[in-house]
């Protein structure tokens, strides 16, 4: 990293960037992503959210719906609808990864 840039960035931010980088490099991020997707489909979260999407589309009109519309309508609801068990499992995995690989 550039010397000046490292000064601007806080240590926290540095650490976060480093960890993210490590996540990606080791392929763990992809694995976590796939795991989350699979669990969400399994739990029916995807179908729930799709039904909500249908409502939004009907509301906005089929021809005129945009990505932004969907994102702004769907994402908060999506975050809220994630089952607790799925959330807990993911958090656990992330923590485990950090414990293993983060230089603390």
């Amino acid at each position: 990293m550039d010397h000046t840039v490292s000064k601007i960035m806080s240590k926290d931010y540095q650490m976060k960037a480093a960890i993210n980088q490590k996540l990606i490099e080791m392929g763990e991020r992809e694995r976590l992503k796939e795991l989350l997707r699979a669990k969400l489909v399994e739990s029916g979260w995807k179908d729930q959210l799709k039904a909500h999407c249908k409502d939004v589309i009907r509301e906005k009109g089929l021809e005129h719906v945009t990505v932004e519309d969907l994102v702004t309508e769907v994402t908060p609801k999506g975050r809220a609808l994630v089952p607790d068990s799925v959330k807990k499992e993911l958090l656990q995995r992330i923590r485990a990864f950090l414990a293993q690989h983060a230089a603390l």
Binding site: K16, I19, R79, Q92, I94
Partner: protein
């Protein structure tokens, strides 16, 4: 999992937790975005609402849950007890047996020709006493007695391309010729035919089985002597005993080289260099007592070789080449005799 169980210290812990949560949120947002893109594309491409049908159609295809009926509402063995009239033989056949019956009746199934031929053969066995005069003579000649099934199947060999007038015993080699016929193969041979076929084959390999003579029943001893004289010269050894066990091997080894030299149509470099052509070469060109049948495949037999002739003594001395040549010599002898 409680915060207090974490092995890390306080401030770092919260920071760590915050970090973990951050990472988690990012992952969830990725998933949501993925879904949004998917839905948006489906909407724009027009397939988003395809899974929705109107209520009427939904009711039509609802899952049925009644006894005696499958989930589509169809009865399972509705047609089992019904009978159908075969368009070919005009019989009333049960519905479940109708398809196999049609196969046999119309002669279009996989096994229909086989079974029909077998039935015909066994019918001829029982109805006909003698089929062919020519076969009768041959039957008198040899030592084994064929089942009459052989005579019935004699008809098959008439269609094979290898049929020839010199081939008196069609029955014996018809199992081989079956390969040229349409739809007839080893599977259609009855137990007796298989037995005789096997004994024919095994006799080629020198193993003695149930039949009485080791000799090929196609030819007489006089013919054999004539051939021996023709091929080996006037000093041909006497025919070995009929019941000797190791027939093909002992028969071939001393004569392999000599026969190869006369029957070979291409000059093989393995054979030891020739002597001066003897008078036997000229004998071979002129009419021989045993007609050499014209070969239907590959190379024609040019019996007059350019100077590759052996005397018997030389052939015996070249022991190295015997194992190589006995195998091809067997096939060449019998191919030629066929």
């Amino acid at each position: 999992m409680k915060m207090e169980d974490m092995p890390l210290s306080g401030p770092d812990n919260t920071k760590l937790e915050a970090l973990v949560n951050d990472i988690y949120s990012e992952l969830v947002e990725d998933a949501c975005l993925g879904l949004c893109f998917e839905v948006h594309r489906a909407v724009k491409q027009g397939y988003f609402f395809l899974d929705e049908t109107d209520q009427e159609s939904m009711k039509e295809f609802e899952i049925v849950d009644q006894p005696g009926v499958d989930i589509f509402g169809q009865v399972y063995n509705q047609w089992k007890n019904k009978e159908c009239e075969c368009p070919n033989c005009k019989r009333l056949i049960a519905a479940s047996r109708f398809a196999p019956h049609l196969e046999k009746c119309l002669g279009m199934g996989r096994n229909s020709s086989r079974i029909a031929n077998r039935r015909l053969a066994s019918n001829n066995n029982m109805s006909k006493s003698e089929s062919d005069q020519e076969d009768n003579d041959d039957l008198n000649d040899n030592d084994w007695s064929y089942g009459a099934e052989k005579r019935g199947e004699h008809r098959k060999s008439q269609t094979s391309p290898r049929r020839s007038k010199t081939l008196k015993h069609k029955n014996e080699f018809s199992p081989f010729q079956y390969n040229y016929n349409a739809g007839i193969n080893y599977e259609m041979l009855g137990p007796d035919e298989v037995q005789s076929f096997l004994t024919t084959v095994s006799s080629f390999h020198g193993r003695k089985k149930s039949f009485q003579s080791q000799r090929c029943p196609q030819h007489t001893d006089e013919q054999r002597m004539a051939v021996r004289v023709f091929l080996l010269g006037p000093s041909a050894p006497v025919l070995p005993e009929a019941d000797s066990v190791a027939v093909p091997e002992s028969f071939d080894i001393p004569d392999g080289q000599a026969l190869m030299s006369r029957l070979q149509w291409e000059d093989s470099p393995e054979i030891s260099p020739s002597d001066s052509a003897s008078s036997k070469a000229s004998e071979e060109k002129s009419g021989s007592p045993f007609p050499i049948k014209r070969r239907t495949d590959k190379e024609p037999v040019s019996v007059s070789l350019t100077g590759t002739n052996h005397s018997d003594s030389r052939s015996l001395s070249t022991k190295k080449k015997k194992p190589k040549l006995t195998a091809p010599s067997i096939s060449s002898i019998y191919d030629d005799l066929n």
